[in-house]
Symmetry: C2
């Protein structure tokens, strides 16, 4: 095999492939990037058995062939090369010679037949959206994906549910729920799948395109496929039942507060300086007419700060883990947000009128 690349193309493709390289595997072949130039194009394939990536690399095939190269070494070598032409050539001992200007590397490779190629999946249902939208909706929900506790692996993923041309993405852990809705505006199939949080994290990092660049998502039995630019990412779906959030979505409230988001974030930030994660001391929201007074009181000291609000309904005193509040507020773009409360022991809803988002946060019991 003999291939010729531009260093910049090669580096970009290697970076993409690295996202599906397992750092801790008992199968050394999974630490490799598979270079497949047996047909008319050059493909890099990587597969950590949960996530698989196939990307087409611009380059010239002087001699067809394939080889699996140790991903980390190959990636570091490519990164270190000057922005020039790079030749990758293999010999009969499965050694790859990488040459760029005067630099010459030789690294041991493996034959391609050991490699775990990606399964061929039937592409039934699909939706198309902008890379920007998908990246956004992932980043706006991924932070509250649960950890694998209690055996329900489904909660380590996000629910992607399409109904009547509307995508709803839900993630939740034991303290909070994040819901984002997105109108897809095209003829879409009805779908309900659970995509692993790890997959979505990598997808959000790979989707660097904007509003003009699209990504197609294919839903198949046990798999989801993301196709964009010259890259195809395949991931297993999670099995199991996702928590039914419908039962949580009540529209009843006794206190409604409108508040400047930026001021609230900064104020909670100051209050949480005195709260160590391990302390589990809440930040107290004392809501009265026109003012919410935030306070925290720990061994390190105490803090109090008033913020102007617009309030409807009853006064209320309620406590929150400051981290959960800030996580949700950070991914909301609006300048002014609206919070709905029922009582000091019922969850708080941060949502907008269009129901584009709904962040539900459980309070900390402060015994009032």
């Amino acid at each position: 095999m003999k291939l010729i690349f531009e260093q910049s193309d090669l580096q970009k493709s290697v970076n993409i492939s690295m996202k599906a390289i397992s750092s801790s595997t008992t199968m050394p072949i999974l630490e490799c990037i598979m270079i497949d130039a047996t047909a008319g194009e050059i493909k890099f394939i990587s597969n950590d058995m949960e996530l698989g990536i196939e990307t087409i690399v611009p380059g010239e095939i002087v001699e067809k062939g394939s080889i699996a190269l140790p991903a980390k070494t190959f990636s570091e070598i490519v990164k270190s090369l000057p922005n020039s032409t790079v030749t990758v050539e293999t010999n009969e001992h499965m050694t790859a010679a990488i040459t760029c200007e005067k630099a010459h590397f030789e690294i041991p490779g493996k034959p391609g037949d050991e490699f775990a190629y990606l399964p061929v999946v039937e592409r039934d249902d699909s939706v198309k959206m902008t890379q920007f939208s998908l990246r956004q909706i992932i980043n706006q929900t991924l932070f509250s994906v649960g950890e694998n506790v209690g055996g329900n692996k489904a909660l380590t993923g996000e629910l992607f549910k399409i109904e009547n041309g509307r995508l709803q993405v839900v993630s939740l852990d034991s303290h909070r729920v994040s819901i984002r809705n997105l109108g897809l505006g095209t003829e879409c199939p009805d779908v309900s799948v659970i995509i692993p949080g790890k997959t979505l994290g990598e997808i959000s990092r790979l989707l660097t395109g904007g509003l003009e660049d699209t990504v197609t998502v294919y839903f198949a039995k046990n798999y989801v496929i993301f196709e964009f630019d010259c890259t195809m990412v395949l991931s297993r779906l999670l099995e199991g039942r996702f928590f039914d959030v419908g039962q949580l979505l009540i529209n009843d409230y006794s206190t409604k507060v409108e508040i400047n988001k930026q001021n609230l974030v900064q104020c909670i930030g100051r209050a949480s300086l005195l709260v160590r994660e391990s302390d589990k001391v809440p930040v107290i929201f004392n809501i009265s007419d026109d003012v919410v007074s935030l306070s925290a009181d720990t061994a390190m000291g105490s803090m109090k700060e008033d913020l102007e609000i617009h309030k409807e309904g009853k006064d209320l005193v309620i406590g929150f883990n400051p981290k959960f509040m800030i996580d949700a507020l950070r991914v909301i773009d609006e300048e002014t947000i609206t919070m709905y409360f029922l009582s000091s022991v019922a969850p708080c809803f941060i949502k907008n009128d269009e129901e584009g988002y709904n962040y539900i946060i459980l309070p900390v019991n402060i015994g009032r």
Copy 2:
């Protein structure tokens, strides 16, 4: 005590004080910044018993007094405040109230009498230089300060030696020596002291000024003092004998090589991709007429690259730990450097004609 500051002034001064706050101490008072406003000015004092910092803070004294505040909490609070007026006021229970706009913090302090004030040191000999020069000369030598092994604590510091108006700074570990010379150009005392590496690291971070800003260095019995802007840093000196580098400084050589520094750095960088720190595999320099051929050969693969040089003297094959070479090359500003070799088992000298610097690196024995 009641003091009023601008948040930006306060934050700057707290940042300076934090450099002498010990993160692991058995004396809780050393985790505090001492605020002393008993006289006509506001001083922040911090002291980790090796390094002491006293800085004068711009601000208004409404009521005189002093208090020691937990440094980390105080620093985080100050950082979190908006850019506005900050009031720090103490009560009879040694609680400090910190108020800025609507934010109000209370943190417990300690009376000043427990605090370890800095010793009063007689300021005998002194030299003045630009902050830029001192910061440079520290950064150009600090990387080869030895670790505390074998009991000679002196080698965890740098030799500062002034003779005939010329400052020589030397650091060394078991593999290399870094020497920088600087003409002070003024009437200077003759001095020879060993300053702890940790002190110099903090000084280099504190000296943010340029060529117009000066720093005065006072040498006293057991102590050195750096005075700049509104800040005074006092450090213990290290006792013991510093290694006499004079015996190493031979001008004899059998091979002299002129080479482009940037190319050499990049090439060593590429070679070292295949060398794990733990392997102790050297990068081989094969020096012949007009060309040095760098190579490395490890379990991960092999690498070879030729660089153009201008050579005088014999051909030579010699091996180096790539990290030591790169450390030295990184702090040399010249575009072209000159390397002097005697044999494959003798140290390599990288120095310039004006003897502004001399980096001495021991080779790795490659058995040739």
